[in-house]
């Protein structure tokens, strides 16, 4: 590490060699910063895309499962509807039989009424007593037959009505089940389409995540190369300018003070140890504390007379009071008086 005076250090910092190095350094720092930002950005995007792909895949599997459930439900309703339809058809057969039976009874009832009327009319026309007695017995017999048929017809007709109601109820249930089954079928198809879309999306995101991961790898290589260039520039600074390069400062020993050194900041640092550090700012640091305590290097503070500080000479060698005598007294015994 070279020992310099402040003036020499300032001259070095203003030299064209250092200016060229500084331009390269700033470019390298900027490249590292951009590469790091790009790498972090791509890495986070890649990880985020992987997570989103997994989420889409999970949602797709879930949707696919729900689609199957909806399909099963639709199938169950359709089967129920068919079952009710079959039952309704069976009931309709019974109903038809009952209708025939009821119609037959109706015809027979009409015949019985006609027989009853004829016998009553015959009784009304009168006749011999013996014949009258026979006619009355015939009327009573016809009345019994008629009443029996009335009762039988009523029962058959009620059964026919009940059977029709059962047919209609079965049809209604079949209809409802059919509607709900159809809706479940539509729902199942819709969910299935959603599942397929989600599977495609998951695949696209997986592909995108892989691409982003590859880009992140490229950015990581660029970052390593940029960091390497930074290190190479610091090594070059050591060789060219005789400094000791740290991560954020270049150091030179203070020629007139063995216990301190000059530190030149390689970048701005508003949160510096004890002051707002500016890029290319020259600071004085002690051997023990280093950059944990920075003092701005000033002309005239710890600087020798050769560097322009004349305060001591102005005081010590300035005009003095009293009579000036060429020789205060005595004879020089030095053969080469100074």
């Amino acid at each position: 590490m070279r020992s310099l005076r402040l003036g020499e250090l300032r001259e070095l910092l203003e030299s064209s060699a250092f200016a060229a190095w500084w331009t390269d350094w700033q470019r390298a720092v900027s490249t590292v910063r951009d590469a790091r930002a790009r790498h972090e950005d791509l890495l986070s995007h890649s990880e985020l895309m992987t997570v989103r792909s997994e989420l889409a895949q999970r949602a797709a599997v879930d949707a696919f499962s729900r689609s199957g459930e909806a399909e099963d439900e639709g199938t169950r309703f359709t089967a129920e509807s068919q079952e009710q339809e079959n039952r309704a058809l069976a009931l309709l057969g019974e109903y038809e039989e009952q209708r025939f039976r009821t119609s037959d009874l109706w015809v027979r009832l009409g015949g019985a009424e006609k027989v009853l009327e004829e016998r009553r009319e015959a009784l009304g026309r009168g006749g011999p007593a013996k014949a009258r007695g026979q006619l009355e017995a015939a009327v009573r017999d016809a009345e019994r037959s008629h009443q029996a048929l009335v009762a039988e017809y009523g029962a058959a007709d009620r059964k026919r009505t009940r059977l029709w109601e059962d047919v209609e109820a079965a049809w209604a249930v079949s209809f409802e089940r059919s509607l709900v089954g159809a809706e479940h079928g539509v729902l199942a198809r819709r969910i299935r389409r959603e599942a397929e879309r989600l599977f495609e999306e998951a695949e696209e995101r997986r592909t995108r995540a892989k691409q982003l991961a590859a880009d992140a790898d490229t950015a990581a290589r660029e970052l390593r190369a940029a960091t390497e260039l930074e290190r190479a520039l610091l090594s070059a600074a050591r060789e060219k300018f005789g400094c000791v390069p740290g991560p954020s400062y270049l150091y030179w020993r203070h020629r007139d003070d063995k216990r301190s050194a000059f530190a030149v900041a390689l970048g701005d640092d508003p949160d510096g140890a004890n002051l707002d550090v500016k890029a290319l700012g020259v600071y004085t640091v002690s051997r023990q504390r280093g950059v944990s305590f920075l003092e701005p290097a000033r002309d005239g503070l710890g600087v020798t007379a050769e560097e322009g500080d004349r305060r001591f000479e102005e005081y010590f060698l300035g005009p003095r009071k009293g009579a000036r005598r060429d020789q205060e007294g005595g004879t020089s015994s030095d053969p080469t008086p100074r």
């Binding site: 007139d256 020798t304 007379a305 050769e306 001591f312 000479e313 005081y315 010590f316 060698l317 300035g318 003095r320 009071k321 009293g322 009579a323 000036r324 005598r325 205060e328 007294g329 005595g330 004879t331 020089s332 015994s333 030095d334 008086p337 100074r338």
Partner: protein, 148 residues
Amino acid sequence: MTVDKEQVLRGSPLFEMLSAAELEILAEVSRPLRFAAGELVFREGDQGDSLYVLARGEVEVVAGADGKGPVLATLATPSAFGEMSLIDREVRSATVRAKGECVALQLTAENLTAFRKRSRDGFTLFLVNVARVLSSRLRETNQKLARR
């Protein structure tokens, strides 16, 4: 008769703690002056831009510019004198006269400035020694005043 300037300076309280290299520099820039008995080294009221380190013999510190006043003190080797005016830039406060034949090393403000350029720490120690000597004199004065 030659004077070992470095040896003289080493014996003076004004140059305590200085390294051999620093004493060598001072010896190099100092000038030995020879005084005959009764000869004035400097007068009261003179401009004071140098100090003296007595190398041989004795001197008397006398009140008054003509050197005929009462003797205030007698100094022997390795005493030094003249440092007060050198530091505060005031005029000589008393006359110094050789009591017998004597030799003193003269160090001017220019000599000391040159020394400072070559050794900051050495010069600082020299100033510390001046302060110590002046402090010591002040204490003695205070004690004398207290005894009165």
